[in-house]
Assembly symmetry: C2
Homo-oligomer: 111 residues x 2
DNA sequence: ATATGTGCAAACTCTTTGCATGGAG
DNA sequence: CTCCATGCAAAGAGTTTGCACATAT
């Protein structure tokens, strides 16, 4: 399912999707298999402020995330406007960064 | 205490600080008073991926946060390299953003 | 028969809430 | 005496773990 899905999913979304195939499947199994897939390098965690941890397939090029306040979905957006070397305050060394955009997505803007 | 403190604090840090003045003070009181101070506009929440919610004094100019992986403290860094208008993917409208830097702080770099 | 994956329930963490109390005015 | 902030404990939400069972090999 992560292969088909271009955006990070919440645990509940994964659970619902999984239940559409195996109706009685429990939430514990979802968590267990998410951890397994992470161990295998198939997916990665996407920790988001206020939203908690979502999951998306691994190996996507460096990118960031957009959160739609209306449909409450998280979208990938490609590319990155950040130059880490110019960001480090004096004395600090930066090894990674996360950028989150908040707003309304193309689909919700159309309605 | 938030007036003296230039960086966001975890609930536990607030609790420890408060206990240094009122030793038996409980965690529920800390949460209650944080909510109160937010309502009064004295402090704001700072939700951080993987760290949960921290708190800092309100009214600081637009800025972002740096997380030191070594001492596990969150620092403010002033200014902002983001131009929202250039970031919105086509069809998306952006109304705010959050940027987090991860690395080692000036103090830990000195050791 | 053995091993693996699952459901279920309990445990754990973080946060919030209800209730009774104790001190301040 | 009346209020209100507090401690304590219980309750929730999200996540993890132990255990027993079913299924496949």
């Amino acid at each position: 399912m992560f292969l088909e899905n271009p955006r990070p999913l919440r645990v509940e979304e994964v659970h619902e999707f999984a239940q559409s195939k195996v109706p009685q499947l429990g939430i514990a199994t979802v968590y267990r298999n998410l951890k397994l897939l992470i161990g295998e390098g198939e997916i990665v965690e996407v920790p988001v402020p206020e939203l908690g941890t979502l999951y998306e397939r691994a190996g996507i090029d460096h990118h960031h995330h957009f959160y739609c306040r209306r449909c409450r979905k998280l979208f990938d957006f490609p590319g990155c406007p950040i130059d880490e070397s110019k960001l480090a305050p004096p004395g600090f060394s930066v090894d990674s960064h996360e950028l989150f955009l908040f707003g309304v997505c193309y689909r919700c803007n159309d309605e």
